[in-house]
């Protein structure tokens, strides 16, 4: 690309299709928000499906949700909130051009993300062990817990799809954050200002946002 030819120095880094740096920065942020719009609609459809069945099978959902560990879920909430906080700090430090602090904050965010996935996999493992993953080997011991086994299938299907998709987002987040850290550390020419960090930050806060709603909807269902 011809644009890179004169994008050697960090100060002069406007792609050829933009006129000014400010225009470029604003466009990137707008693009990220437009992408988050699609993410909202994507998770929105799942929340809709959840709500449809929750309204119909409220009592059953209460019974099933007791299979989920609200303490582990709560711990995960704290972990994700902390990661979000350190992500906001990373953007802050990158804005005031403190490279080391930025990297440390991103590293902490990544650590939290790994922690989240670790806790999540413990939870998933428990479910698999009790045959609560809704495939052919699904076993809902109705005699023991009450509740309709068909509705149990739906509940655990939704649980695995929604938390699974969220987990995939966390995984992608880890990859993106790691890449970002490497690029920042290397003073790569793609990182000329704080905008990449801000974009990754927006994504990461959105992942946090989804969990903020998932937690009460799955782990804290009222009777």
């Amino acid at each position: 690309m011809a644009a890179h030819a004169h994008a050697e120095s960090i100060e002069d880094s406007v792609y050829f299709q933009y006129e000014t740096l400010e225009q470029q920065q604003e466009t990137y942020i707008l693009g990220m928000w437009a992408f988050l719009l699609t993410e909202i609609m994507m998770f929105g459809a799942l929340f809709l499906a959840y709500t449809v069945y929750r309204f119909q099978y409220q009592r059953d959902f209460f019974i099933f949700h007791e299979q989920l560990d609200w303490k582990l879920g709560g711990l995960n909430t704290v972990v994700l909130l902390s990661s979000s906080f350190s992500m906001a700090l990373a953007v802050h430090y990158h804005q005031i051009k403190k490279k080391a602090a930025t990297l440390w904050c991103l590293a902490f965010t990544n650590l939290c993300a790994f922690g989240f996935l670790a806790i999540k996999s413990i939870e998933y493992g428990e479910k698999f062990k009790h045959h609560l993953f809704p495939n052919d080997s699904f076993v809902w011991d109705a005699a023991l817990h009450g509740g309709n086994p068909e509705h149990a299938r739906i509940f655990f299907s939704l649980y695995f799809v929604m938390t699974g998709l969220h987990g995939i987002h966390v995984l992608i987040g880890i990859l993106v954050i790691t890449t970002l850290m490497v690029l920042i550390a290397k003073n790569h020419r793609l990182i000329t200002d704080y905008i990449p960090t801000e974009m990754v930050g927006l994504y990461w806060h959105f992942v946090d946002l989804v969990w903020i709603f998932l937690y009460p909807l799955y782990y804290l269902i009222p009777k």
């Binding site: 920065q25 902390s82 086994p149």
Partner: protein, 168 residues
Amino acid sequence: MSTNTDTQDHGAHAHHVTPIGKLAATFGFLLFMMALTVVAARLPLDMPDTFGWLSPYFFVTNAIALGIAIAKAVAVVRIFMGAKYASKLIKLYAIGGFIWFTQLFIMFFDYGTRNWEEVRGWEKVPSSSLPRNRDSDAGIPYPVYPGSHAGSEMSGTSEASGEAGSGH
């Protein structure tokens, strides 16, 4: 392109740098709300717990849980994601996305009003047939237990089928 160096400086302070204190306060708020929602959900409120979404207990508990979640979400969007300090366009997109999402819930009008008018044939639960091309022994995709409610209360759509369940 020659004007780049001029706009560079403008660009630098056109964006808001959120102070650490503000971020920390938001973080504290989020943690507090998180604790609050756990406490609220596990608090034994003394209300008639008739099952179903018409009971006041269901309304109150869900309103609390969702209200807290929304408060947390607003804090994250405004401070962490910087929507508070962003341009009007970004604000429009941020708000617009969440408003548009609620539009999906128009379909509750369907689920809510299905049994306002009785339609012949809908009162019965459709008998489930086995999928074609699947082994009929292993074909039942879920195990049915003799003691379970599957037979009597499976009424797929408890809302939609109305009084059908009791007549069974």
